[in-house]
């Protein structure tokens, strides 16, 4: 009988314990520096990594404001419309098509950087996707293990020692720097000169092609200026862009 009472009290106790999950303090699992005194650490004192060479800051901030307005009131609504009205497999096809066109400057830049494997990869992708992938609307190369890798003239310049120069916020196009703006111009000229499948000549002359090109360009970039809803968005985006570019460039050094 005694064990019955034991059982009963156990039930009462454990149902109480079940109702009340005890607190397990995550703060106890860590060690901390002292707030003051000898053991103290500099806390978040040195934030040098947030500084980016930006002598044109006032102009850049102006364009930043312009771009976020353009994005909010024009590009985003257009993109939403594009996503709602055009089926995803067509959007994918369009995106593949322009990506395939991009493999022309990718290949050339890899060659200029004397990176044989990267050049071979982009070159093979170009041939395979243009033929088997029906002018690039499909991406069979991806399935064959040759994934897309971006390369641009800015990276070529960097490989030969050209520094980034001042940070730039380009109107419409977004964050960049002086070197990469040169690079972008170079890539556009190269695409125009090669005029692969005679498509690039229509990019800027035919409004319909330009619209599709632009919409696709913007929809590939998922970043929006609103994402850092903070009075410091400009600084965060500037820092992140610069860092992102540094990481990208590690592949060419």
């Amino acid at each position: 009988m005694r064990s019955f009472f034991l059982f009963l009290s156990f039930c009462v106790f454990s149902s109480y314990a079940q109702d009340r999950i005890p607190y397990s303090n995550p703060m106890d699992q860590l060690e901390y520096y002292e707030e003051h005194g000898d053991g103290a650490r500099s806390d978040i004192r040195r934030l040098a990594f947030l500084d980016v060479y930006d002598p044109l800051e006032p102009v850049n901030r102006l364009f930043f404001g312009f771009n976020s307005g353009l994005d909010r009131y024009f590009l985003k609504p257009v993109l939403n419309l594009y996503r709602v009205t055009v089926p995803s497999f067509i959007r994918k096809g369009v995106s593949n098509f322009f990506q395939n066109m991009q493999d022309v400057p990718n290949t050339l830049n890899s060659l200029m950087q004397l990176r044989a494997r990267a050049a071979l990869r982009s070159g093979t992708r170009l041939v395979l996707n243009t033929t088997v992938g029906i002018l690039g609307f499909f991406d069979p190369a991806e399935a064959a293990g040759l994934s897309y890798q971006r390369n641009d003239f800015g990276m070529t310049l960097a490989r030969y020692g050209v520094g980034a120069g001042p940070y730039l916020m380009l109107p419409v196009l977004g964050p960049s720097n002086v070197r990469d703006t040169f690079g972008l111009t170079g890539d556009i000229l190269v695409q125009d000169t090669v005029n692969f499948l005679t498509v690039p000549e229509h990019y800027y002359s035919d409004p319909a092609v330009f619209a599709i090109y632009g919409i696709n360009y913007r929809s590939e970039i998922q970043f929006t200026y609103e994402d850092f809803e903070s009075p410091f968005s400009y600084d965060m985006i500037r820092f992140l862009y610069t860092r992102k570019r540094e990481l990208q460039l590690q592949t060419v050094y």
């Binding site: 064990s3 019955f4 059982f7 149902s15 079940q18 009340r20 999950i21 005890p22 607190y23 397990s24 303090n25 995550p26 703060m27 699992q29 860590l30 060690e31 901390y32 520096y33 002292e34 707030e35 650490r41 500099s42 806390d43 978040i44 004192r45 040195r46 934030l47 990594f49 947030l50 800051e57 006032p58 901030r61 102006l62 404001g65 976020s68 307005g69 709602v84 590939e220 970039i221 998922q222 970043f223 929006t224 609103e226 994402d227 850092f228 809803e229 903070s230 009075p231 410091f232 400009y234 600084d235 985006i237 820092f239 992140l240 862009y241 860092r243 992102k244 540094e246 990481l247 990208q248």
Partner: protein, 438 residues
């Protein structure tokens, strides 16, 4: 006797099996869950037809005084409104610390309640920059009682605005939910509404609220001082963190802080220690505080961040002020900016001055204890390993809410928000006033 004992043993085993309530949220490390949230395959199915929604600007001015040129691109308080095409109840959602109405957690909750048949109004946190500029009376957030009255005004203005926007819309009842600091705000709004009786909330749900705000703040501040093995230099550690953030940006060209943090860590899970994760949480919190400090400083012209007389325009560099603001933690904000500025107003109006203790007291749930106990329409969800509370806070929740509290054994701070069982519980409470299996 032996049979009797064996029977008891069987009973005991059965009992243990049944009572070991199976909560299937997979991440038991509180730091990891806080940063990572719920893996997407464990989210509830929220698909359905497109959501009708619009950002509504409140034209009736809620804040006093001119808007400084630094904030010239946000001149009106804004809420996001999603409506059903038939008569439906409406729910207000309040964002957490520093978050705007479009933060990813608010968006998630919107989808949850929209799919459950509600009209939804998303509100920015009183600590977010846009709310501080456009919807706050004092532009000095941090004292819940005062923040609640700002929120309450914004809610009433939103309801009027919604009426203008769609006169045929039918709203049955009004509900309220908030997460993190937004949950604390929601509790104070509820208490205020109980006195003023303007809106009349059918039910209120608090998701992971701070209980004693001072405890929450101290813990979050403490996380920036965490020791991380192998790294002595804070700068190096931040560099590493931002490398990963930038790496994520490189892969995704996407900058949503919540999501990018999640993705960064999601990919680097094996390489991150608890210390590093804790530091990330601390720094992310600091970033919200920095934005708040900067905004409060400009709106009140205290000269603590931006020197007096220096105009801040849209083209002016803010980088030096960013640095300066990042050095402030919440307690410094409270003691050096909030209280002195607020007491200046109060002295002019002949009110008694607030102390640090008062400020924290008026921002903690226990001050509402009696009201919370008797109000059967308020529920709370929390986690037993949430770093913004402590044992005392958890006991307060159990004692005060009783059956209206749902405590999960783990989930960190908001980590299990998107977990399907949690979603079921939150919709269940809002719809029926009790947690499904309570």
């Amino acid at each position: 006797m032996i049979h009797f004992r064996a029977g008891l043993l069987v009973l005991f085993c059965l009992y243990t099996l049944c009572s070991g309530a199976s909560y299937q949220y997979p991440i038991q490390n509180p730091f990891l869950s806080t940063v990572m949230g719920t893996p997407e395959h464990l989210w509830p199915d929220l698909s359905g037809p497109a959501i009708n929604e619009i950002n509504l600007k409140i034209y009736h001015p809620l804040a006093t005084g001119p808007i400084p040129s630094a904030f010239s691109n946000s001149r009106r308080a804004t809420v996001r409104f999603a409506w059903q095409n038939r008569p439906a109840p409406l729910i207000f959602l309040v964002a957490g610390t520093g978050a705007r109405f479009n933060a990813s957690k608010v968006e998630f909750l919107k989808r949850v309640f929209y799919r459950a048949g509600f009209h939804v109004v998303q509100l920015s946190s009183p600590t977010s920059s846009d709310f501080m500029v456009n919807a706050s009376n004092t532009h000095l957030p941090g004292i819940s009682r005062q923040d609640a009255s700002d929120l309450y005004r914004l809610m009433q203005a939103s309801l009027k605005r919604i009426e203008q926007f769609n006169q045929r819309l039918v709203i049955n009842d009004i509900y309220l939910a908030g997460y993190s600091l937004g949950a604390l705000d929601a509790a104070f709004v509820g208490a205020l509404d109980d006195r003023k009786e303007v809106i009349g909330f059918q039910r209120i749900l608090l998701i992971n609220p701070p209980v004693y705000l001072e405890r929450s703040i101290q813990n979050l501040d403490q996380l920036t001082r965490v020791k991380v093995q192998g790294v002595d230099d804070t700068t190096e550690l931040f560099n590493r963190f931002f490398d990963q953030l930038a790496e994520y940006f490189r892969k995704n060209n996407h900058l949503d802080v919540d999501d990018s943090l999640k993705e960064v860590i999601g990919r680097e899970v094996e390489t991150m220690s608890d210390g590093e994760l804790a530091l990330l949480i601390g720094v992310a919190f600091r970033f919200s505080i920095a934005s708040m400090v900067f905004t409060a400083d400009i709106m009140n012209r205290t000269g603590l961040i931006v020197p007096e007389g220096q105009p801040i325009t849209v083209t002016e560099s803010r980088t030096p002020f960013f640095h300066r603001s990042m050095h402030w933690n919440f307690q410094q904000y409270l003691e050096r900016l909030l209280l002195p500025s607020l007491n200046l107003h109060r002295r002019q109006q002949g009110d008694s001055l607030l102390t640090r203790k008062d400020a924290f007291l008026q921002s903690s749930l226990p001050v509402l204890e009696r009201w919370l106990k008797k109000s059967k329409n308020i529920g709370v969800m929390h986690n037993a390993d949430d770093l913004i509370i402590d044992q005392e806070g958890l006991s307060f929740i159990y004692d005060t809410f009783g059956q209206r509290a749902k405590i999960y054994p783990y989930g960190g701070h908001m980590g299990n928000l998107q977990f399907s069982a949690n979603v079921q519980d939150m919709v269940g409470f809002i719809k029926t006033g009790q947690f499904p299996d309570a």
